[in-house]
């Protein structure tokens, strides 16, 4: 079964490697490592998982942009390759940070779930068919629900898992309903065929309902307002490494699938002649996310909740990139999502290390971090400034690319232009709460009960420094990522 010269086996070799890796992790933990100490089991599980991710990365990179595969169910294009590679890198960083998360029991299960979730995310990034997209999304989501509720020592974690699951269930229902309406309208589940089917009749009330349902589901997936309500609770309650995966790789995969569904699939009804297509809805969601995310973050005293609101605000900016992707291509959107993911994984990595060291979750608990661990403070500095979009870090370049693409759509007077302008304005608000975090970490003096130094595990230190260096490098050489799309 070949299409475009790529066999299904080679197209999905990366995903296969991850599944094999997940099984190997479980099997080894049950046999070889059964009587090992917890630390050794963690090391074994994360090492095996890391190897699986590396193998998958090589396989995915080797297949490259080979064109449609498996009769058009998959689309192996530049976006797919870049997105899969990005997801794997983010998942790999998450795994490296996981090593030594002492609070969590059952290391093998945790790592296996991370690998399974990553598998789902990988398929999402290349799926070009409604059914496949839904299955991949569900595989990823179910794994993530469990990961969010994995910390059984804290009731917040269970609450987070439950909330995530309940809202996820609702959004899955929306998505499935929307997909079935779409199938009913066009008679096909493949994006290309759907596009062909929609080209003629244009927007109908039924299609409008389907569109809103799909957008609501994706709004949930990428934590965009007003479907974002789960995010602060989940980010706060879930184990930090699980939250890192939810905020980074899952977001990147969600945006990849969304842009692939909206532009090649539903591009015909983006903005019908005289009729509002899905573009205005996306614009509304984007505006709501930008406003609620930035203003909500202002009031937070908990670093994880702040990161959640920052994620919502970034989702708004990313939706701008989705709107612009029709004209500017997916390059700016991917660059933004990937580098945002890096910064978020880094920030949650710092949170995770602090969590294990017994530092409280509040922003004020960061006081004197520069004395207690200069490494953590320095890395946090880079991550937070990148989230805030300060040059020369990658976050700035991402914002610049997306806003420039949005402004080119129709100038300052178009909705996208106004939104871009609002987003730039809200960046100033964002700077306030980001700098508040840095002020606590870098300026405020330690209180007497915070005198101890924080020891950072070697794997976490290496991972954080690597992520920080990547952010600086990608900021200085944006063409390294953007070149994939030219």
């Amino acid at each position: 079964m070949t299409a475009g010269g790529t066999t299904l086996a080679s197209a999905l070799a990366g995903e296969a490697a991850l599944v094999a890796g997940a099984l190997a992790v479980l099997a080894f933990d049950l046999t070889g490592a059964r009587n090992w100490a917890a630390g050794a089991r963690w090391r074994a599980a994360t090492t095996l998982g890391g190897v699986a991710v590396l193998v998958a990365l090589t396989l995915v990179w080797r297949v490259g942009a080979a064109g449609p595969a498996a009769g058009g169910s998959f689309m192996l294009d530049a976006l797919g390759t870049a997105s899969r590679a990005g997801i794997l890198v983010l998942a790999g960083l998450t795994l490296a940070l996981t090593n030594g998360a002492r609070r969590l029991r059952h290391p093998a299960e945790f790592v296996a779930l991370v690998l399974l979730a990553t598998t789902g995310l990988l398929v999402m990034a290349v799926a070009q068919q409604l059914l496949l997209a839904f299955l991949a999304l569900e595989l990823a989501s179910l794994s993530l629900y469990v990961l969010a509720g994995f910390d059984r020592t804290r009731p917040e974690s269970a609450e987070a898992g439950l909330k995530y699951f309940l809202l996820g269930g609702l959004s899955a229902a929306f998505l499935l309903f929307g997909f079935s309406l779409l199938y009913g309208l066009t008679g096909s589940i493949e994006f290309t065929a759907i596009a062909a089917g929609l080209a003629q009749p244009g927007l109908s009330p039924l299609l409008a309902v389907a569109l809103v349902m799909i957008l609501a589901a994706f709004g949930f997936k990428v934590a965009a307002a007003p479907f974002h309500l789960w995010a602060p609770d989940v980010y706060e309650g879930a184990p930090p490494v699980a939250a890192a995966l939810v905020a980074s790789a899952s977001k990147l995969a969600g945006f990849t699938l969304l842009v692939r569904l909206l532009w090649p699939g539903l591009g015909a009804v983006a903005a019908g002649s005289g009729l509002p297509g899905w573009l205005p809805v996306v614009a509304l969601i984007s505006a709501a996310s930008l406003l609620l995310g930035n203003f909500g973050a202002l009031a937070q005293s908990n670093l994880r909740r702040l990161l959640a609101y920052s994620a919502i605000a970034h989702a708004g900016a990313l939706l701008l990139g989705v709107m612009a992707a029709g004209a500017a291509g997916p390059g700016p959107l991917f660059y933004y999502a990937a580098t945002y993911g890096l910064a978020t994984v880094g920030a949650f990595g710092v949170v995770s290390v602090l969590d294990q060291a017994g530092v409280g979750p509040g922003i004020t608990d960061l006081a004197g971090l520069h004395r207690r661990s200069p490494l953590l403070a320095g890395c946090l500095f880079v991550f937070v400034l990148s989230l805030a979009g300060i040059p020369p870090l990658a976050g700035f370049v991402g914002k610049f690319l997306v806003f420039a693409a949005a402004l080119r759509l129709g100038g300052l007077h178009s909705p996208a232009g106004v939104l871009a302008f609002a987003a730039i304005f809200l960046s100033a608000v964002a700077l306030y709460y980001y700098l508040g975090v840095l002020k606590a970490a870098l300026v405020t003096a330690t209180t007497p009960d915070q005198e101890t130094c924080i020891t950072v595990p070697v794997s976490a230190a290496v991972t954080l420094v690597a992520a920080a260096l990547l952010l600086i490098l990608l900021g200085l050489l944006p063409s390294a990522l953007l070149g994939l799309f030219s």
Binding site: L166, L170, L203, V209, P226, L275, P280, G296, A297
Partner: protein, 674 residues
């Protein structure tokens, strides 16, 4: 090994790299700084030899590699590298002499605290000097020209804690700046007229025929040809840098710097840059020769300035007592010779003399450095004496340098190059004055050098410092021996019997006739050298029972003349009384004007500013700040309000999602769906 024009930049790049490393080396990294500097210089020497091989393959061709440097509006500024025998010979000389002087400095500067900085500055100088040689653009040449000036400033003032050194550095910088202003004006004018400053550019360069014809054909104020005016302005730069009359006053003072610096910068290389510059733009200087109706030819001015400087320097050198000052005025005089040769139409003779002079004058300065180092920094001839017995290597090599400078016949390089200059002056149809001046200077040169060498090395030690002097280590005598070998041997590349250098420099086969045409002239000049040496020996060589306070025999014979010469003809006093006074007067006037008129105005403005600032502050505190604070509070309040709305209740969340779906669907449906 070959090095084409495209890769010529590597020659200055090596010392520049060494300077960068040196600047980052902490004070303790003496070996690193000196090692990289010397290694870079040796590397540059090897590359320069490669460039020479390449250039000699086609001596008549100006090889160049041009490229766009940057774009300003529609104007593309192009620069490039230029490889011809002139460049290559100069580069080989600079790197060779430079490397030897770097090695000598290892010994001479051994005790200095700022050893690493010294080598950093030396490398910077070498980079700038080599850059000046290899560029094909007068713009880049000017940049390097100013950089060598900067390096010279830094190195003259290297011992800046000595007030004399600091003052000398300032004087050198300001005096050469006067000449550089002329050079800059000339270059600007040239760029204005021709739209480029590239020397050679496939027919479009400023030194090529089309440009020269246009420049010579244009007449400017006073009946001068445009080429004459621009040429003379460029020559102003050469006057300043090469210590020509009337801007020669800085060069003797520059001897306050460490002696290796005097040898490298203020004898062998930088001061010769003016001669090189005129030789580089020689086609421009020649452009007005064919015109009959101009008031003066550019080269005539060059010859006149050169002749005056040659005589003046030699005369003043007779009455100086500081070793380095004698040599400095000797340098002024020899540079005058070179300018004279340029002026009378033989740039080949000028460059020949430049190259030979670089070797033997570096030798003399290093010899002087060796003496000074041995004699505990005593450099007054009257307080030395009798060093010849204990410093045999220094004495022998200094004697070789002296004979080369004096032009002792046949064996020494200075003889052949000086003869070339004198014969060129002899062949000049315009006037025989330069020749006369040159011949008088020959006698004076031989005389003052005899006086110097007898004073230092012969007789009995006149002070304890002189009595205590001992020969220096091999790291200092080694370069002396090598340079002495060059001072003897190198002359043979330019003898009339085998004019290899001349024919390759000019890219033409020089006929053997030139120097034999006037055999009487050669005999005359040999006779004059013998006269000078004999007179020197007669006056100074047989003195007995002298001590440090003995009066000079010449001062006894002609006290007035000697005093005037010893006071360097009063140039410094004259400048201080005229330009210095005028400057001080203008400065005082400007100061008063500044304080009273402008100062009053400014303080009035300041009052107004203070007042408006006061108003502004009030407005700011009461209106803007409070408003901004209130807005910020409102923004934070909005956040608080909103976060209170999200209370963590899952039912509420689900309801919100459903509500949002309905709202969005209604927006789409009511928004005009059919």
């Amino acid at each position: 090994m070959q090095l084409s024009a495209t890769h010529l930049w590597m020659i200055p790049a090596l010392p520049l790299l060494a300077a960068a490393i040196g600047s980052l080396t902490p004070r303790g990294g003496r070996q690193l700084a000196a090692g990289t500097a010397i290694a870079a210089m040796l590397g540059a020497f090897v590359l320069s030899c490669g460039a020479l091989v390449t250039a000699l393959a086609q001596p008549a061709v100006h090889g160049y590699a041009n490229f766009a440097w940057f774009t300003l509006g529609n104007e593309v500024v192009r620069v490039g590298w230029l490889l011809d025998p002139l460049t290559a010979f100069m580069a080989v000389m600079v790197t060779f002499v430079g490397a030897l002087i770097f090695i000598f400095s290892l010994g001479y500067m051994k005790e200095d605290q700022n050893f690493t900085r010294f080598f950093c500055f030396l490398s910077l100088f070498a980079a700038a000097m080599l850059g000046l040689l290899v560029v094909n653009s007068l713009l880049l040449l000017f940049v390097c020209w100013e950089l060598v000036g900067l390096a010279s400033y830094l190195l003259i003032g290297f011992w800046f804690h000595k007030p004399a050194a600091a003052a000398a550095a300032k004087k050198a910088f300001l005096t050469t700046r006067i000449g550089d202003l002329g050079l800059l004006l000339g270059l600007l004018w040239l760029y204005h007229v021709r739209g480029t400053l590239l020397c050679y550019d496939g027919g479009a360069g400023v030194l090529e025929q089309g440009s020269l014809t246009a420049l010579a054909g244009t007449t400017v104020a006073g009946g001068f040809a445009l080429s004459t005016a621009i040429g003379l302005l460029i020559f102003c730069g050469a006057i300043g840098k090469s210590g020509q009359f009337p801007l020669h006053v800085w060069l003797p003072d520059a001897m306050e710097g460490p002696t290796p610096v005097s040898a490298l910068i203020h004898a062998a290389t930088m001061v010769a840059a003016g001669v090189f510059l005129v030789a580089r733009v020689y086609p421009l200087m020649l452009a007005d020769q064919a015109l009959a109706s101009v008031p003066v030819h550019a080269l005539t001015v060059v010859a006149g300035i050169g002749a005056i400087t040659a005589l003046l320097g030699a005369a003043i050198a007779v009455a100086q007592n500081d070793i380095k000052r004698v040599l400095a005025f000797s340098t002024v005089s020899q540079l005058g010779y070179m300018m004279l040769a340029l002026g009378v139409g033989s740039w080949v003779a000028a460059i020949f003399h430049l190259l030979m002079h670089a070797f033997f004058k570096a030798l003399l300065f290093l010899g002087a450095g060796s003496v000074i180092h041995a004699a505990h920094h005593e450099q007054d001839v009257r307080r030395l004496g009798g060093l010849g017995r204990r410093m045999k290597a220094t004495f022998a090599t200094f004697a070789v340098g002296t004979m080369a400078l004096a032009g002792v016949p046949f064996l020494f390089s200075g003889f052949w190059s000086k003869e070339a200059v004198l014969h060129a002056a002899h062949a000049w149809p315009v006037s025989s004055l330069p020749l006369l001046v040159g011949l008088v200077a020959v006698v004076l040169t031989a005389f003052y050098m005899t006086r110097l060498i007898t004073g230092i090395f012969l007789g009995a030690p006149r002070t304890d410092a002189a009595a205590d002097a001992h020969e220096n280590s091999a790291v200092m005598t080694g370069p002396l021996l090598i340079l002495a070998a060059c001072a003897i041997g190198l002359g043979f590349i330019g003898t009339p019997a085998w004019p290899w250098l001349q024919s390759n420099l000019g890219g033409i086969v020089v006929e053997l006739e030139s120097i034999w045409e006037a055999p009487g002239l050669m005999l005359l000049s040999i006779g004059l050298v013998v006269t000078g040496l004999g007179a020197g020996w007669a006056v100074y060589g047989r003195r007995r029972n002298v001590n440090a306070s003995s009066v000079d025999p010449l001062a006894q014979a002609a006290p007035g003349l000697f005093a005037v010469l010893a006071a360097r003809l009063g140039f410094d006093e004259f400048y201080a009384a005229t330009f210095g006074r005028a400057n001080a007067w203008v400065a005082a006037l400007a100061d008063g004007f500044d304080r009273r008129v402008w100062g009053g105005l400014v303080s009035l403005l300041a009052r107004f500013g203070e007042f408006s600032g006061l108003l502004n502050r009030e407005a700011d505190e009461d209106i803007l700040n409070r408003g901004f604070d209130r807005a910020s509070a409102a923004v934070r309040g909005a956040g608080q309000t909103y976060s209170r709305a999200q209370a963590g209740e899952t039912h509420g969340y689900l309801r919100t999602v459903a509500l949002a779906f309905v709202v969005f669907a209604l927006v789409l449906l009511l928004g005009g769906v059919r």
